[in-house]
């Protein structure tokens, strides 16, 4: 019996990481918690944007030429991009539109597109990954190639081409979700396929087959639960990456179109103003940066909590 006790102490098998334990580790992670707080504040701000803008007493579309210094080419009057009690973050150069209202609009777009894209990516990625991993040799060799192809594809080029030629009356946020999702499912699919293929060789799957369990039962009971944790952590990292993609495409002028506002689009117009009016660059730039960082830290914290050896900051003690 001593030997059995000893193995119990010594062995470190793949423990199922269970809810309470994961939550405890996550809550103990200060970086992840900072990320969580910032992310929650951002999301709440985006949801309550109309209310907040109403509180400020402005809107995102009204021009305020009176606040601009036309002699200096339309730079806002006053310090910090014309920030004041009426315009909390100042106004846009050339137009004088309220920056606070436009930034909040950008937050809404950023979240809506990132989350919508994530849904598309997960549907495609998990679906194709599962089909490849579970669907026999022919399905796997075909879908496996498709996954490789989608990963080594110059996706951005296609995304740009596609976005550029779709008529302007098609709802842009929806289009962005579809295009980024369509070109961005490969990583998820590869992860799911690899995980399924690895789980399939476990002896407990063989044991389930021996008991006469059918394919569906094995997939549902034995394999899927093992796929969900890595997909969850991967999805958490996809979210900030989708925000960057949306902002990038809008920056290039093929994303969200005026009058709707997006941080990427604001940054794109700000390029020419970075010397005369740095506030105009800093508002959307820092918002995007802080937002992306918050979600990245949260995602990494989640990953570290689920698998203490895997996180970006693994190895630190």
């Amino acid at each position: 019996m001593t030997a059995e006790l000893v193995t119990e102490v010594g062995a470190a098998p793949e423990a199922p990481t269970r809810g309470r334990q994961v939550r405890r580790r996550l809550f103990a992670d200060r970086m992840a918690m900072t990320g969580l707080v910032v992310a929650v504040v951002m999301i709440v701000a985006a949801i309550t944007a109309p209310l907040l803008i109403h509180l400020e007493g402005q809107d995102a579309t009204t021009y305020h030429p009176e606040l601009l210094n036309s002699a200096r080419g339309g730079v806002p009057r006053g310090a910090f991009g014309g920030a004041s009690g009426a315009h909390w973050l100042g106004v846009e150069p050339t137009t004088g539109r309220d920056l606070f209202a436009r930034a909040l609009g950008g937050a809404q777009i950023s979240f809506v597109v990132a989350i919508g894209t994530l849904v598309v990516q997960l549907l495609l990625g998990v679906g194709i990954g599962l089909a490849a991993g579970l669907g026999g040799k022919i399905a796997d060799s075909f879908l496996g190639r498709l996954i490789d192809l989608s990963i080594s594809f110059p996706q951005l080029i296609f995304a740009i081409a596609l976005l550029a030629i779709v008529p302007g009356d098609f709802p842009r946020p929806l289009l962005l979700m579809m295009v980024i999702g369509l070109f961005g499912w490969g990583g998820t699919a590869r992860l799911v396929r690899g995980q399924v293929l690895s789980l399939r060789t476990r002896d407990y799957v063989a044991a389930a087959r021996l008991s006469g369990a059918g394919r569906a039962r094995i997939a549902l009971r034995e394999i899927l639960p093992g796929v969900s944790a890595p997909v969850l952590t991967y999805a958490a990292l996809l979210l900030p990456s989708n925000m960057i993609s949306e902002a990038g495409l809008s920056f290039l002028g093929v994303g969200v179109r005026p009058p709707a506002s997006s941080w990427g689009q604001m940054l794109s117009t700000a390029t020419t103003w970075f010397q005369a009016d740095p506030t105009y660059v800093l508002v959307p730039g820092l918002l995007l940066l802080v937002n992306v960082l918050a979600f990245t830290l949260l995602a990494d914290g989640l990953r570290t909590a689920l698998d203490p050896r895997a996180g970006l900051r693994a190895g630190r003690r």
Binding site: A3, L5, V6, E14, P16, Y204, A207, L210, G212
Partner: protein, 539 residues
């Protein structure tokens, strides 16, 4: 235990303690161990997993430095105390005066560098020799350990060597600077029994030639009995007994040593009584001309196939235990998996209870599955870590149509029967030890009350005492459930103990099949004789 070092000892360990800080307190892995190693002598340290034997070995070279371990006590190497020296002095000792070889010879060498370069690098570090001189030395020691065509093979990288050759290469590295002591940590545990015999012979020979002392760490009492003159038995970090090997193994003083010795299956002891068969003589499962081919990776366009199982025919008689032995790559596991229809045969037929089940589609196979069950080697991968133990055991019943509550009740009964606490049915596998998990695997396999149970290396991952318990359990269950068992293992002694008849496999082919008694006393095939001769015998 505080005697001062014996004259003539090259290594003297006194009151060695190694502690690891863990999440909940301090784990004392080595607890006050003392021993001496005489010049040119050979000392074995035996123990089960977690006994602290490897931790002790690493401490002799000061290899716990830089980790979180706390080491105390004395490790005297001649005039020097390894624990008292500074890092640089300890570094200069390593490899020059005390060398070490490890269990897994593949991962112990750098995959990116030529073997000759790796040995030469060690030689140059300690002697300051030139490049050419060091290379010559590397070739010389490789030749010395029996690498054929050493000058050419020194240019190979580790993956181009077989397991036994890699271990030889590592021994060559140890020899390079002619150390006084060689510490060998489970040097043959990853090797086949015939290769193990060659490596142990080589170690004997080198010891006799060079006067190098050997400290052999192993779990295998047979290896100890064959290769060393003194032995130290460890349990839970403590030395429970030390003495000349003949004395300790024949008349052990400590109860733990006695228990250990009793648990070891041996080739020379009388074979335990086998129960009479229930429906003796009638074949339950017949395998005829069974083959299985695998495509070799990287074969390209040519059909480069590996015949893992090559035209095997045998009968499994009702109620018997058929042992299948073979070294790695012999095809024994592939055969086992084909018998339970986990792997499709390339050709041949399997008849179960008079019915040909070789090509039966999965749906038609389902009722047959009840009768064919399997126990797996790895107790970690054979249970789903995300399902409770009760669910895992009850699942086969649910699949075959038993109601949920009824299935769980049966599962709890089975847990009780295999020696597990049924109230822990809602726990997860990682909360149990390896032996307990193997019991769960057995309970699951029995839940459908099969006729045939195929056990693939069921005790290979377990310590000897746990192994003995599982073997006992299997024997009792065989009687109680009227089971026919196919017992696959690489361990000839274990197979001898549990089998009525034994099949020997080599390179996919069936070499010999005979009654156990007959096969072990008068083996007919040359290969069987080689295998039996290679097994180290206790005392």
């Amino acid at each position: 235990m505080s005697e001062t070092s014996v004259p003539g000892a090259v290594l003297s360990v006194q009151d060695l303690c190694v502690e690891f800080p863990t999440g909940d307190g301090v784990l004392r892995a080595v607890d006050g161990v003392s021993f001496d190693l005489a010049g040119g002598g050979a000392l074995g340290i035996v123990g089960e997993s977690g006994s602290g034997k490897s931790t002790t070995a690493l401490a002799l070279l000061g290899l716990h430095r830089g980790s979180s371990a706390r080491v105390s006590g004395g490790v005297r190497l001649g005039e020097d105390d390894v624990n008292a020296l500074d890092d640089e002095s300890v570094r200069r000792l390593r490899g020059r005066r005390i060398a070490m070889i490890f269990q897994d010879p593949l991962s112990a060498l750098d995959p990116y560098f030529r073997i000759g370069d790796q040995i030469a690098e060690v030689y140059r570090t300690h002697t300051g020799a030139g490049r050419r001189q060091a290379w010559a030395r590397a070739v010389e020691v490789l030749d010395r350990v029996g690498i054929p065509d050493a000058a050419r093979r020194a240019r190979s990288r580790p993956h181009e060597f077989s397991g036994g050759m890699r271990q030889r290469a590592l021994i060559a590295m140890a020899l390079a600077c002619e150390p006084e002591i060689l510490v060998a940590d489970e040097p043959t545990s990853a090797l086949d029994v015939t290769v193990q015999a060659q490596i142990l012979d080589l170690l004997d020979e080198l010891r006799a030639d060079t006067g190098m002392a050997l400290l052999l760490v192993t779990h295998d009492l047979g290896v100890v009995s064959r290769s060393v003159d003194r032995v130290l038995v460890m349990q839970n970090g403590r030395a429970v007994e030390e003495g000349p090997v003949s004395e300790v193994l024949t008349s052990p003083a400590a109860p733990y040593t006695r228990a250990l010795l009793e648990a070891v299956p041996r080739l020379d002891a009388p074979r335990p009584e086998r129960p009479a068969h229930h429906n003796a003589g009638k074949p339950l499962l017949v395998v005829s001309g069974l083959s299985r081919e695998f495509r070799r990776p990287g074969g390209g366009l040519r059909r480069d196939v590996l015949r893992a199982v090559d035209d095997v025919s045998l009968e499994i008689l009702g109620g018997e235990t058929l042992g299948v032995v073979g070294e790695s790559g012999s095809g024994k596991t592939t055969l086992a998996r084909m018998i339970v229809r986990l792997l499709e045969p390339t050709s041949g037929a399997i008849t179960f209870g008079g019915r040909d089940i070789t090509r039966l589609p999965e749906r038609a196979l389902r009722p047959v599955r009840r009768d064919l069950q399997m126990v797996f080697q790895d107790p970690v991968s054979s249970l789903n870590p995300r399902r409770t133990v009760g669910d895992s055991i009850a699942d086969p019943l649910r699949v075959q149509g038993t109601g949920g509550r009824e299935a769980l009740r049966t599962a709890k009964e089975l847990m009780e029967r295999v020696g597990l606490d049924p109230s822990r049915h809602d726990r997860y596998p990682h909360e149990f030890s390896g032996g307990q998990r193997q019991r769960m695997g057995i309970a699951r396999a029995l839940s459908l009350r099969p006729k045939l149970l195929v056990c693939d290396e069921p005790v290979s991952a377990l310590d000897v005492s746990t192994q003995a318990q599982i073997l006992d359990l299997l024997r009792d269950l065989q009687e109680e459930y009227e089971l026919t068992i196919v017992f696959v293992s690489h361990d000839l002694a274990v197979v001898r103990q549990v089998s009525d008849r034994v099949a020997v496999m080599r390179n996919g082919a069936l070499v010999e099949l005979a009654d156990a008694e007959e096969l072990y006393t008068s083996p007919r095939h040359e290969y069987t004789r080689t295998l039996l001769a290679a097994v180290p015998v206790l005392a």
